[in-house]
């Protein structure tokens, strides 16, 4: 800072963005309800393509899993890549009506944060997650998935209990 005596500067600007969007002197404004509905509808339309999109990501995860099995010395890199893809997927599923994909991806993300001494059991855990995700997409299990959703979640939890060390 130029002035040595100044410890802190507070910048207080006129709210030009509000003037630009709500207008001068307008007290209360809201987002147009119809625009919101239209945007929701557009999202719904995009959601139809989501299962295909996510299937491609699951294929990528499967390839990385295969590498973990075939080339144990590459596990660290593979886990990094799986972790990255899982992070992406956990952020998408819920938006497009597939919260189970977000839940399973979140779990996969957590299990692939490890980078050292990756065991065969941990590789099996990856496979369990992929199986669960594939079942969600194959069955187009949107929302919570009802009984099937519970079964899939329980199944994955059982696998986690079995393989987790």
């Amino acid at each position: 800072m130029v002035n040595e005596k100044v410890i802190v500067r507070f910048y207080r600007f006129q709210n030009r963005l509000r003037e630009k969007t709500a207008g001068l002197g307008v007290k209360n404004a809201e987002i147009d309800e119809n625009a919101l509905l239209e945007a929701e509808a557009a999202l719904g339309k995009m959601s139809e393509d989501y299962p295909d999109w996510v299937s491609n990501l699951i294929v990528k995860l499967q390839e990385q899993h295969g590498r973990c099995v075939d080339t144990p010395e590459m596990r660290r890199d593979c886990f990094e890549e799986i972790n990255h893809i899982a992070h992406d997927m956990k952020g998408q599923g819920g938006t497009f009506g597939y919260p189970l994909i977000s839940t399973f991806s979140d779990s996969l993300y957590g299990f692939t944060l490890v980078r050292d001494n990756i065991t065969d059991n941990q590789i099996e855990l990856i496979k369990s997650h992929l199986d669960s995700m594939r079942a969600v997409i194959r069955g187009r299990i949107s929302g919570s998935g009802g009984d099937i959703g519970v079964k899939l979640t329980d199944g994955l939890n059982e696998a986690i209990a079995k393989y987790e060390e």
Binding site: V8, R9, K20, L36, M46, Q92, T95, F96
Partner: protein, 183 residues
């Protein structure tokens, strides 16, 4: 109650996932945002903003009103991009509202983003309503910017909570060492 008119608003969006990028562009457009410049990572976003500063005619953009950026991108992620926006001399507007989009939920990540000067955080997975709420928050609840020896960005205090001890907050607008800049 009247509706917001976003037609004169320009948003710069940095998102590497084509699917999410397309969703965000669509949603912003349908909500009425006039211009959305979308790029694939933080590096391209920085290049774009440099052009806004140095050659606005070339990119057809005089000013960016809101930045929206994913955090997890390669090679330049959202946090590095935010750092550039807030601190670099080539940044065209160090005060621009910066909305970080992220699937990270770990508390230390949230703190990291706050310390780097985010304006708002949009948590993934999000809904269209969430996008709208964040836009409103950026418009209706901007915070003063604070510049001291260790921080530059929107005031990290959102609420006026009285200090827990006498030493906790000794500076007021009238204290020595405090400078208020209005504009």
């Amino acid at each position: 109650m009247s509706s917001y008119d976003f037609s004169r608003v320009t948003v710069l969006l940095a998102e590497d996932s084509p699917f999410i990028r397309s969703l965000l562009i669509n949603s912003l457009k349908v909500l009425g945002v006039g211009t959305v410049h979308a790029v694939e990572d933080g590096g391209s976003a920085i290049e774009f903003l440099k052009k806004v500063k140095n050659d606005p005619m070339q990119v057809g953009c005089q000013q960016v009103d809101i930045v929206m950026s994913n955090w997890d991108m390669h090679p330049i992620d959202g946090m590095m991009f935010l750092r550039w926006v807030r601190r670099h001399k080539d940044s065209p507007d160090r005060f621009v509202p910066f909305l970080m989009i992220t699937g990270y939920t770990e508390p230390e990540r949230i703190i990291q983003a706050r310390e780097m000067g985010i304006s708002e955080m949009l948590a993934k997975p999000f809904t269209v309503k969430n996008i709208g709420e964040k836009l409103i928050s950026v418009i209706e609840r901007p915070r003063q910017f604070v510049h001291n020896s260790s921080y530059f960005g929107p005031d990290r205090r959102r609420r006026k909570v009285p200090p827990k001890s006498q030493d906790a907050r000794v500076l007021t607008d009238k204290s020595e060492g405090v400078e208020i800049i209005r504009g």
